[in-house]
């Protein structure tokens, strides 16, 4: 076998080598670009507050990952006056929930979930809520909004408290448009909030809100698991750190609308802070004009508002209660913005 190499073969080999080297450098640079940023593992970084393990959402009967975009529209029919009647069926029941991995909590629920279903209707519609108390304590449904006193769901007015095994209904015209809420008004009041008897009540304007690409609902709640009148864990939609472990996906430049309600008991104040972004804020959602353009808002008990925002850059963005204690005990999450 000859070891001689012709000039042509030499140049061919050199050219191939140069090509291969250029390709390798290009691939390496590409790789450098891809991995220039540190890999992101939401909820799995070392040295950050979180809980151990996973909650069994199937056993709980609800999953915050789907709950965030779930709205209950009820059934519609038309009254003889031509007004739309929207009917919801709600059942209060006792239920043991796994509110943090391995941690069982004797909750009171509307329709087996905490928060209760996000009821949604339009301003001017007649709303009827058929309510059954399948729990072991007296309960009611007290709606925020404008309605006759007998429909207020408080003791001493209308049907008052609904005893275990009893049923009633609440009927009123939905007004004003905005983001409202409902909760049980039995006594002691705090137990209703602590154990989970509350939910979101959304009344759209007659002509609807301007179209957006993505609507979400988040309820800030706290859990006093040992009933010492202090919250031990906090969450968006009940499960602490859920949205930190499983980021909610959004699209780049898409318009997002977030219905945000504070239902914490034992805390005089909470707040919401969006990282890396600003939002238009509509307090109680009762105006079509935002009150401010900001990245942080304060919320007293039962205070709520609508946030509208879109993301300019892809990546992971935190959202959380600004109070460190609440965030580090679960009121924290991530938006994953994709192209």
């Amino acid at each position: 076998m000859s070891n001689d190499v012709s000039r042509r073969e030499f140049f061919r080999a050199s050219a191939l080598t140069a090509l291969a080297a250029t390709g390798a450098v290009a691939i390496a640079k590409q790789a450098e670009q891809v991995y220039a940023a540190p890999p992101l593992h939401p909820g799995h970084d070392l040295g950050i507050p979180t809980v151990v393990g996973e909650v069994n959402h199937t056993r709980n009967g609800f999953n915050p990952s789907t709950m965030i975009t779930e709205f209950e529209y009820g059934e519609t029919s038309e009254l003889i006056t031509g007004q739309t009647l929207r009917t919801f069926n709600i059942k209060a029941e006792d239920k043991t929930l796994e509110i943090a991995p391995g941690l069982e909590f004797p909750a009171w629920t509307y329709n087996g979930r905490v928060p209760g279903p996000a009821l949604r209707c339009k301003a001017g519609e007649r709303v009827r809520v058929n309510f059954t108390n399948a729990g072991t304590h007296p309960h009611s449904m007290h709606f925020r909004g404008i309605h006759p006193p007998e429909m207020d769901g408080v003791p001493g007015s209308g049907f008052g408290l609904v005893q275990p095994g009893q049923s009633t209904f609440y009927e009123f015209d939905a007004e004003p448009f905005g983001l409202h809420l409902y909760h049980s008004h039995s006594y002691p009041l705090a137990q209703n909030m602590v154990r989970g008897l509350y939910g979101v009540f959304i009344v759209e304007p007659e002509d609807g809100w301007p179209m957006v690409d993505h609507e979400m609902v988040l309820v800030l709640n706290g859990f006093d698991v040992n009933f010492d009148q202090q919250n031990n864990f906090y969450a968006f939609n009940t499960i602490p750190f859920h949205y930190q472990k499983l980021a909610t996906k959004l699209k780049l430049d898409a318009k997002n609308r977030l219905f945000l309600v504070n239902m914490m008991e034992y805390e005089t104040l909470t707040s919401f802070h969006l990282h890396g972004n600003f939002f238009h804020y509509y307090p109680s959602g009762t105006s079509l004009v935002p009150s401010e353009y900001t990245d942080t808002i304060a919320l007293m008990q039962a205070q709520r508002g609508i946030l509208e925002f879109s993301y300019k850059f892809p990546g992971l963005y935190l959202f959380r209660a600004q109070q460190a204690r609440q965030a580090e005990l679960g009121a924290i999450g991530l938006f994953q913005v994709d192209i």
Binding site: L46, V51, G102, L103, E104, V225, N226, N232, A324, L329
Partner: protein, 396 residues
């Protein structure tokens, strides 16, 4: 009671029949329907925190289930932040068994206060307070040496320092000698005042399961009984009796030192307890070196009429001083807490005994008519000295 001797059979029957009846009653109660268990209550979860170990970036809790049922650890928070925990060997802890809860990657800051809350699956909470976060000494070779050195400095050395007053004490007249007896009582009483308040803390620490106060009392009564038995063997009149008395005091001082060492070792090795101020001072060893010289002084007082051989000097110092070294080392381990509590009880008994023995000595030396005024002056001086040393150590 009778003076006639019963037969073996009647003795056995006399002992056995009540035992058989008792056994039958117990068996009936165990197999009886639940309605008959009138006094049973719902079992509550109990978790004792036996030790808290702090290392850079890590908390480690040694816990023991002291309840009647198994319990499972669900979550742990540190200063109002949920934190990843690793429970070894498993999250479910059976009754009377231990587990270790590891909390990693938490950058705690020295000197700050931390509160760790352990949540069980049934939402019971167990709180661990760490008042002053510091790296926990690990019982590796150098640290074991540190513990032994500490024990030597505050246990053995002061003994011999105190004994060096012996030549001076021999030359004193009775009234002056009694003042020194009083000083010794005051000093030893001051040591007790410093350490006794820590005992209830440790008693709470080991939980109700071990009936810790019962253990303390058993230890105390045992020590007093043992020392009394030894005391009753001699009349304290002759030189030999005086030596016997010296040995009793030496043993009592050793027991006292052992209990003292256990408590100090617990405080040094564990972050659970709130260390007293004087022990938080970097000069606490200096303070104890000074105050524990009182034990040597007590020995010197007992021996002031005697001429011990040099072997006896060494032996006295060793028996009275070494247990403190041993106690410090043992106390720093999360081991056999019931035994430690039992020995602490014995130390309390020894503490009482030493004081009684000193007063007895003063009485016999004074022909049963001691100068109580001199003794009172001495006790006051001893207490003031203790107070001043603790104050100086704390301030510095």
């Amino acid at each position: 009671m009778t003076t006639s001797s019963p037969s073996l059979l009647s003795r056995l029957v006399g002992i056995g029949v009540p035992l058989i009846i008792l056994g039958g009653l117990i068996a009936w109660l165990i197999i009886s329907p639940p309605q008959l268990r009138l006094f049973s209550t719902a079992a509550t979860e109990q978790l004792d925190i036996e030790q808290v170990i702090l290392q850079p970036g890590r908390f480690e809790l040694v816990v023991r289930n002291t309840g009647a049922e198994s319990l499972s650890i669900a979550q742990v928070t540190i200063n109002d932040a949920a934190w990843i925990s690793l429970v070894l060997p498993k999250t479910t802890i059976d009754p009377l068994t231990r587990a270790t809860i590891q909390l990693d990657d938490y950058e705690w800051i020295e000197g700050q206060t931390y509160q760790i809350i352990i949540y069980t699956t049934t939402a019971n909470t167990f709180v661990v307070d760490i008042p002053d976060a510091r790296v926990t000494p690990q019982l590796t070779q150098p640290n074991l040496l540190t513990l032994l050195l500490s024990g030597f400095l505050i246990g053995m050395l002061p003994l011999y320092v105190g004994l060096s007053w012996w030549p001076m004490l021999r030359q004193l007249y009775l009234p002056s000698w009694l003042i020194w007896v009083g000083v010794a009582i005051g000093l030893i009483f001051g040591r007790g005042v410093d350490l006794l308040p820590l005992v209830p803390h440790f008693v709470r620490h080991i939980g109700a399961l071990y009936q810790a106060w019962g253990l303390v009392i058993i230890g105390l009564v045992f020590a007093l009984g043992m020392l009394y038995r030894r005391a009753s063997q001699g009349g304290d009149d002759t030189s030999q009796d005086r030596f016997l008395q010296a040995y009793r005091v030496v043993i009592a001082l050793g027991l006292l030192g052992f209990g003292e060492g256990l408590i100090l070792g617990q405080v040094m090795g564990s972050q659970v307890s709130a260390a007293p101020l004087w022990l938080q001072s970097p000069l606490w060893i200096v303070g104890l070196l000074i105050l524990n010289a009182s034990k040597g002084l007590i020995l010197a007082l007992i021996l002031s009429d005697l001429r011990p051989m040099w072997v006896q000097w060494i032996l006295f110092g060793f028996i009275a001083g070494f247990p403190l070294m041993l106690g410090i080392v043992l106390g720093a381990f999360p081991m056999a807490m019931p035994l430690l509590i039992l020995l602490t009880g014995a130390a309390i008994g020894a503490f009482i005994w030493v004081n009684v023995e000193l007063l007895w000595l003063a009485r016999t030396e004074s022909d049963n008519a001691p100068y109580w005024g001199q003794i009172a002056v001495g006790v006051t001086i001893g207490l003031i000295l203790t107070w001043l040393v603790n104050l100086a150590v704390t301030i510095v």
